[in-house]
C-alpha cells in the first residue's frame, strides 16, 4: 500500500478567499490575491477595429455562423496519494504568489501600435451556455 501523505502536506486549512475576477475588458482592478492590476487606462486609449472574417473556404461547422465581426497517484514505484511536500491544495485559490497582474513578457512589450480585440471567442458565443470549452 502506498504511503500516506506526510503530515505537513499542504496547508489543509480551509481558507476563505474570494474567487478571482477574470481580466475583463474595461476593468482596472484585477484581484486574485489583492494585487492591483494596472494598464486598463492605457487599453482604453488604444484604437480598435473590426476583425477580419474567417479565411475563405473555411466553413463554420454545424450551421453556426461564421465569425465575421469582433466584439468590444502516483506510480507503481511510489505512493498513490499525494507525495507530500510544500504544495498546497487547500483551495483553488491558495497561493499567495499568484496574481492577475501581468508581468514583463519575454516578447517585447507592445507599447504603441494598433490593437484589435474580439477575434477569439466568437465560436463559443455561438453556442448556448450549456456548452463550455471544456470537456
Amino acid at each position: 500500500m502506498a504511503d500516506k501523505p506526510a503530515s505537513e502536506f499542504g496547508t489543509r486549512k480551509p481558507v476563505a478567499i474570494r474567487p478571482p475576477q477574470p481580466v475583463k475588458r474595461g476593468q482596472v482592478a484585477l484581484l486574485l490575491m489583492g494585487t492591483l492590476a494596472v494598464g486598463g487606462g492605457a487599453y482604453a486609449m488604444m484604437p480598435s477595429e473590426n476583425c477580419q472574417p474567417n479565411q475563405p473556404g473555411m466553413a463554420a461547422p454545424s450551421g453556426l455562423p461564421t465569425n465575421t465581426e469582433c466584439r468590444p497517484r502516483g506510480s507503481s514505484s511510489g505512493g498513490h496519494g499525494s507525495s507530500g511536500g510544500s504544495s498546497s491544495r487547500s483551495s483553488v485559490y491558495s497561493s499567495g504568489s499568484s496574481s492577475n497582474h501581468a508581468s514583463s513578457g519575454t516578447l517585447s512589450d507592445s507599447g504603441t501600435g494598433h490593437v484589435t480585440r474580439g477575434g477569439f471567442g466568437g465560436y463559443a458565443h455561438a453556442f448556448t451556455s450549456h456548452f463550455s470549452g471544456g470537456g
Binding site: V23, R25, H80, G81, S110, S132
Partner: protein
C-alpha cells in the same frame, strides 16, 4: 471495483465553497455526489488503469507522429488545411502537453476500454485533484472509509512539476470563456498550480485577447502573450476570426496545436487501424468507411468534434436508444462498438484517467442514470481499499 454507499459529510457544501468549488451543484442538481464512492483494489488501479493509461497515451503519440504530416489522415480528421503547418510545427518543435483525460469503460472484470480522449480541454480537474482528496482525508478521519484507504491521485503535485518544466519561469496567461462557472473554476485552479510552480500568471477572457499590429497576441495591458494556457478547443480557435493569425505569432499554446489531432474522435478508428484488437481499444470506424458495417446495427455514433457527450447516440439494432442533443456533427461521425458500462444500482460510471505530462496519475468518476456521460453527470469520489 465496488460502489459503496456511505454517509455524506454534513459540512461538505461549506467546505466546497470555502475551497472555491462553486459549481458543486449545477442548476439545482448535485454535481459533486458523495453519497457513495467507488472502491478499487490496488491491483486494479495499477494493472487495469495506470498501466493501460500509459499505454494508450503512447499509442496516441505514435498516432500523432504518423498523422501530423500525412495529408490523407488530416483530411479524414477534417482538420482545416490552413492549420496543418501550425500543427506540424508544434509537433516537430516538441511543444509540451500539460494534461489530458482518458474516458474509460471499466467494470473490474475485463480490461478497461477507451471511450474517448479529452486531450485538449479537459475539465473536472479541480474536483479530481483537490476536492476528491479532501473528501478522502475527511472520510478517513470520520470513519466513512477504512483507515487504510488511499486514492489514485497525485494530479496536483504533478501539475506543479509540469508547470515548472513548461513555463521555465516565463509569465503565463490563462484564457477561456470565463463567464462559464466550470471553466472559470478550472482556469482558477490551474492558475493556482502554475503560481505554486513559480510562474507569474494572468487570467484573461478569450474574447479579450488582442492582436497587435507588431504581430503579437496581447493582453489587456497590451503585453505580448508568450505562453498561454487555453481552455478553449483548437477547432473553435481555427474557426474564430483570429484563427488565421495563429501561425504568424510566437505565442506558445498549452495544450499545443498537435493536440487538435488527439481531441478528434477520428482517433478512435485510427487507433483501431494502427493497433487492431488491442485489449484497451474498441473497434471503431469512420462512418463512411464500408468496414463500419462490421459493427452491425448496434454501435455508438460520435461526431468527430464533440464535447461532454453532445450529439453522441447509442444505436441498438438500428434504433437510437439514447442521444444527447447538441450542435456538433457537421464534419462527420465515427462509429464505435458499444461497450456496456457497468451498472451499479442503476448508475453507469465512466472512469476519467488523468495524464499530467504524459504520466498516468489520477482517477475521477462520473456517474449517470443515462449510459451517455454528459455535462450533468455527477462526480463521485473513489478510494483504494
Amino acid at each position: 471495483m465496488q460502489r459503496i454507499t456511505c454517509p455524506e459529510r454534513d459540512d461538505w457544501r461549506q467546505t466546497a465553497e470555502q475551497t472555491g468549488f462553486a459549481f458543486h451543484t449545477i442548476d439545482g442538481e448535485r454535481y459533486w455526489d458523495e453519497r457513495a464512492y467507488y472502491a478499487f483494489t490496488l491491483d486494479e488501479i495499477e494493472r487495469e488503469i495506470e498501466g493501460p493509461t500509459g499505454e494508450i497515451d503512447a499509442m496516441c503519440l505514435e498516432l500523432v507522429r504518423r498523422a501530423v504530416d500525412d495529408e490523407r489522415t488530416l483530411r479524414r480528421l477534417k482538420i482545416p488545411e490552413a492549420f496543418w503547418p501550425l500543427i506540424s510545427t508544434s509537433w516537430h518543435n516538441d511543444e509540451g502537453s500539460l494534461y489530458g483525460r482518458l474516458d474509460l469503460a471499466f467494470d473490474g472484470r475485463g480490461p478497461a476500454k477507451l471511450l474517448e480522449y479529452n486531450a485538449d480541454t479537459p475539465t473536472s480537474i479541480f474536483e479530481a485533484a483537490v476536492f476528491q482528496w479532501t473528501w478522502l482525508e475527511q472520510a478517513i478521519e470520520r470513519r466513512i472509509t477504512p483507515e487504510r484507504a488511499d486514492q489514485f491521485n497525485s494530479i496536483h503535485e504533478r501539475l506543479i512539476e509540469a508547470w515548472k518544466a513548461l513555463g521555465k519561469g516565463h509569465p503565463l496567461h490563462l484564457t477561456g470563456t470565463v463567464d462559464n462557472a466550470e471553466d472559470a473554476g478550472t482556469l482558477a485552479y490551474l492558475q493556482d498550480t502554475a503560481a505554486q510552480a513559480g510562474l507569474a500568471t494572468t487570467l484573461i477572457d478569450i474574447a479579450d485577447i488582442g492582436w497587435h499590429d507588431n504581430g503579437n497576441f496581447v493582453d489587456l495591458d497590451n503585453r505580448a502573450i508568450a505562453l498561454a494556457f487555453k481552455l478553449y478547443p483548437w477547432e473553435w480557435m481555427f474557426h474564430d476570426a483570429f484563427g488565421a493569425r495563429l501561425a504568424g505569432t510566437s505565442t506558445r499554446w498549452i495544450e499545443p496545436p498537435w493536440k487538435a489531432i488527439l481531441s478528434n474522435k477520428g482517433i478512435l478508428p485510427l487507433l483501431w487501424e494502427m493497433f487492431p484488437h488491442h485489449p484497451n481499444l474498441l473497434p471503431a470506424y469512420f462512418e463512411d468507411d464500408p468496414a463500419a458495417a462490421s459493427l452491425g446495427a448496434s454501435f455508438v455514433r460520435k461526431p468527430l468534434y464533440s464535447r461532454e457527450g453532445a450529439n453522441v447516440a447509442l444505436v441498438s439494432s438500428g434504433v437510437t436508444l439514447a442521444e444527447q442533443q447538441g450542435p456538433y456533427g457537421a464534419e462527420g461521425y465515427v462509429r464505435q462498438a458499444f461497450a456496456s458500462l457497468p451498472n451499479f444500482s442503476d448508475q453507469y460510471p465512466v472512469l476519467g484517467s488523468w495524464l499530467v505530462d504524459h504520466t498516468s496519475c489520477g482517477l475521477s468518476i462520473r456517474e449517470d442514470e443515462n449510459p451517455i456521460t454528459g455535462n450533468s453527470s455527477r462526480f463521485l469520489p473513489h478510494a483504494i481499499i
